[in-house]
């Protein structure tokens, strides 16, 4: 390792972590939604819609006074609380194969064990499964599996893949027609509330404001030092936008508060907040491709901040929407902009577009290189990543590295392997700097 790196004493990972005000604000929001989902379990008048993060239609869902439940969020929240291991094994005991997505198995296992959510409260059964089939094949089978168990109403939005790297009018019209003819009628049927397009416009306007601030926050990482970590911290930053809150004034307020908090850090020249406080010295600036590991999140993050490594841009923070190129939900074109949003989510982009995005991140954020966290569970992300890595090395001349973990399956996190690879990678960056300087 570099000589300036001084190893810190072991830290008790179980102690309380330091949190920003925005994190506490978000915690309350998420807790409030879990409370609603728990209340709905005892109140047949409260309707619950299960749906996914990528391509979520939260602005539309909010028009019908229903409560959104996001199985991926439940799985990752449960993983952070070390609950997913038994859930996954439960699902495997009931016939799910060891090879398939652990998000699915964590969700099915949780359901079989009483559907007790990460907050410890029961999550109401779905009144409607809203399958937004965007960027991930597994979503389709996941909700078929849930429907098989719950036998409830299901509606599906098929979002075509950007195979040629562009959104065509045919794709857009197809999505809009499905919204009009399938999704909206299903939500009306479930909720008993008639669709009001003005209400949707209002929600979309709120989304656009929140999206402006989210982009501002993520782009502060172009500064040196970066006041944020766009991967480990970024996961928190995108939380409200990617889940049950986008399109609400509450969400807009969250992003305004977050922006003020981050801007203050920027003006003070501070680095990102880590669970152990502000990162003092930024030594490596990385771009990260792929989802994180949630079962050992803090241990994983610590491997970075202990070495002064900050993630300045990540693809994972784009799975629930890509906004940096100017896309915003648009109240003037409500259904079309919902379609474009769904079509533009990161995993719905083809490999050349994803590669170009990461290449641009390395250049625009002046990163030292690319790190790929390849997730065993997620073929949508993972298939093709090795080629992307080679391409980016070739195009940028910056070193790239590859680690393998899983989203929510604790069996696939090997701390020593990941740490060894990261240490080698940081050495590689140092060598590259030395050879560039010579």
């Amino acid at each position: 390792m570099a000589t300036e790196n001084v190893k810190k004493a072991p830290v008790d990972l179980s102690k309380d972590v330091q949190k920003d005000d925005s994190q506490l604000m978000q915690k309350e929001m998420i807790g409030g939604n879990f409370d609603k989902l728990a209340a709905a379990a005892d109140d047949p008048d409260m309707k619950v819609v299960y749906t996914f993060v990528p391509g979520n239609l939260n602005e539309l869902v909010q028009c019908f006074d229903v409560t959104g439940n996001y199985p991926e969020i439940n799985a990752l929240q449960s993983a952070m609380r070390k609950k997913t291991g038994p859930y996954i094994m439960e699902a495997e005991r009931f016939g799910q194969d060891e090879d398939v997505c652990t998000y699915v198995k964590a969700d099915l296992g949780m359901m079989r064990k009483g559907n007790i959510g990460p907050s410890g409260k029961k999550i109401a059964d779905p009144d409607l499964l809203l399958l937004s089939y965007t960027g991930c094949f597994t979503f389709m089978k996941w909700f078929e599996a849930l429907r098989h168990e719950y036998n409830c109403d299901t509606t599906m939005l098929h979002v075509p893949y950007q195979g040629d790297g562009e959104i065509t009018q045919n794709m857009r019209e197809y999505v809009v027609k499905q919204l009009k003819e399938d999704i909206i009628p299903a939500l009306e049927r479930t909720s008993g509330v008639k669709f009001d397009i003005d209400r949707l416009r209002e929600n979309l306007g709120e989304s656009a404001k929140a999206e402006d601030r989210l982009v501002d926050v993520l782009q502060t990482a172009k500064n040196k030092p970066s006041p944020i970590d766009s991967y480990f911290g970024g996961i928190y930053y995108v939380g409200p936008s990617f889940s049950a809150f986008r399109g609400t004034p509450e969400c807009t307020a969250y992003y305004q508060a977050l922006w003020e908090e981050v801007n203050a850090r920027l003006e003070a020249g501070l680095g990102p907040v880590t669970p152990e406080g502000t990162m003092e010295k930024e030594r490596y600036r990385l771009v990260v491709e792929g989802p994180p590991n949630y079962t050992h999140m803090r241990e994983f993050w610590k491997m970075f901040y202990d070495e002064g490594a900050v993630v300045v841009a990540s693809s994972y923070t784009k799975v629930g929407g890509v906004y940096e190129d100017g896309f915003r939900h648009d109240p003037n074109n409500p259904l079309e902009s919902l379609a474009d949003y769904c079509l533009g989510c990161y995993t719905n982009l083809n490999l050349p577009a994803r590669t170009k995005m990461l290449e641009d991140y390395i250049n625009d954020y002046e990163a030292d290189g690319l790190l790929i966290n390849s997730i065993k569970s997620c073929n949508s992300f993972s298939a093709g990543q090795l080629l992307m890595m080679n391409e980016i090395e070739k195009r940028t001349g910056k070193p790239a590295a590859f680690v393998e973990t899983d989203l929510v399956d604790p069996r696939y996190f090997s701390a020593s392997n990941v740490k060894n690879r990261l240490e080698s990678y940081f050495q590689m960056i140092e060598q590259k700097r030395t050879s560039s300087a010579a």
């Binding site: 009931f94 094949f137 098929h158 027609k177 090795l386 080629l387 391409e391």
Partner: protein
């Protein structure tokens, strides 16, 4: 032509990873083009109407050593993309003018991007088919997708595809469907006379031959096999499910039969049987292809079933129609579609008291003994206790 000669030819085509017959077809006349496609379904009529040869690419099987392809994929991703890219990187697909990647799963979807990045001179298209089966919604989307695919083919050939040409192609593929349906019908009636390996090889031959030649081959086989009398054994009739993408080694298929199972239905090479009924031959050909897709598609794990009550119904119907006594789920390792679908189908089969077992394979699986033992035990248990 005798049955043995036909099957010998099929076997030679199956083993030829240089695709010599397709190369010869292309070289026979100037201006000919070959369009490769991956499983599971593409409307081959469009390629045929463009005067091109649709070439099914089903990975490298158990004959090819994958060296470069392994550098493209992590250990937890199935084998077909790595052996397919190996075919390209070793020059075995250097005569192919375009590659189509159907919407079957995330791995094949992303393979289209791998192709775009590594084979920049080849026409590459991801072929999205609708998961919405309403004519005004999914149908319109699909027709436009087919038009865009035709535009791409026309740019390669330099000539327009006319409606008449499309209608002619529909006729010839309808004939192909009829012959294959007849083959499956005969096999279900007399499975001892039409071994599973022969059905498999005949289906594979259709992926590399011009459809007219394949039609002749099927016709010849049906005539010749009618004259053959093979011994009828006390085997159990089963259906194979899950082998629609990454292919099982031929020995694996053979082992199942040797273990005491007569295969009376399967999901091999589904592009041949995707449309369960013929496409209308008069009128707007794209609309007819679209209608056939919306109304007569095979339900597989790569498709969304909008109606829970119909989940698995085609499989149950197949059991009833063929008189199968059980179902063997055989899926490639790491195959998300097949493995995620399997528990739901097993549940439906259990509700209908249809015995079933499951195992996994890879295209290069070499050890057949465990599979033979599993299939044999399954067959025996049905005979003894069902």
């Amino acid at each position: 032509m005798k049955t043995e000669e036909i099957i010998q030819r099929c076997e030679a085509l199956y083993e030829d990873l240089n695709f010599t017959s397709a190369r010869e077809w292309k070289a026979a006349e100037p201006g000919r083009h070959v369009i490769g496609f991956l499983p599971i379904y593409i409307p081959r009529e469009l390629i045929h109407a463009a005067g091109m040869l649709p070439l099914g690419i089903y990975g490298g099987g158990d004959q090819m050593e994958v060296i470069q392809g392994d550098a493209f994929y992590q250990s937890y991703i199935c084998r077909i993309p790595r052996s397919t890219i190996e075919l390209a990187l070793t020059g075995k697909l250097d005569f192919v003018d375009g590659m189509l990647f159907p919407s079957i799963c995330d791995v094949i979807r992303n393979l289209s991007g791998v192709w775009k990045l590594t084979q920049p001179d080849t026409y590459v298209r991801y072929v999205d088919v609708p998961q919405n089966y309403e004519k005004e919604v999914g149908g319109k989307f699909y027709i436009q997708e087919m038009r865009e695919l035709m535009d791409g083919l026309e740019k390669i050939s330099g000539r327009e595809i006319t409606d008449d040409q499309l209608r002619e192609s529909i006729v010839v593929y309808n004939k192909n469907r009829e012959l294959i349906n007849e083959l499956y019908h005969q096999r279900a009636k007399t499975p001892w006379n039409i071994p599973v390996t022969e059905v498999y090889l005949l289906m594979r031959a259709g992926q590399v031959l011009p459809v007219e030649d394949h039609n002749q081959m099927l016709s010849d086989y049906l005539t010749s096999v009618d004259q053959v009398q093979r011994p009828k054994r006390d085997n159990t009739k089963i259906i194979l499910n899950g082998m629609f993408c990454e292919q099982p080694p031929l020995n694996l298929v053979r082992s199942i039969e040797l273990a005491g199972c007569y295969v009376v239905d399967d999901d091999f090479i589904l592009v041949n049987r995707w449309l369960r009924e013929n496409v209308k031959e008069s009128g707007d050909p794209l609309e007819n292809l679209s209608d056939a897709f919306l109304e007569h598609s095979t339900r597989t794990s790569a498709t969304y079933e909008p109606d829970e009550s119909k989940k698995g119904s085609q499989l149950v119907e197949a059991v009833q129609k063929t008189g199968a006594q059980g179902v063997i789920f055989a899926a490639p390792s790491f195959c998300d579609p097949a493995l995620l679908e399997r528990p739901m189908l097993q549940d439906v089969l259990d509700q209908n008291n249809i015995p079933n077992i499951a195992f996994k394979y890879a295209e290069n699986t070499g050890q057949m003994q465990p599979i033979r033992e599993q299939a044999g035990t399954f067959a025996d248990s049905i005979k003894l206790w069902s």
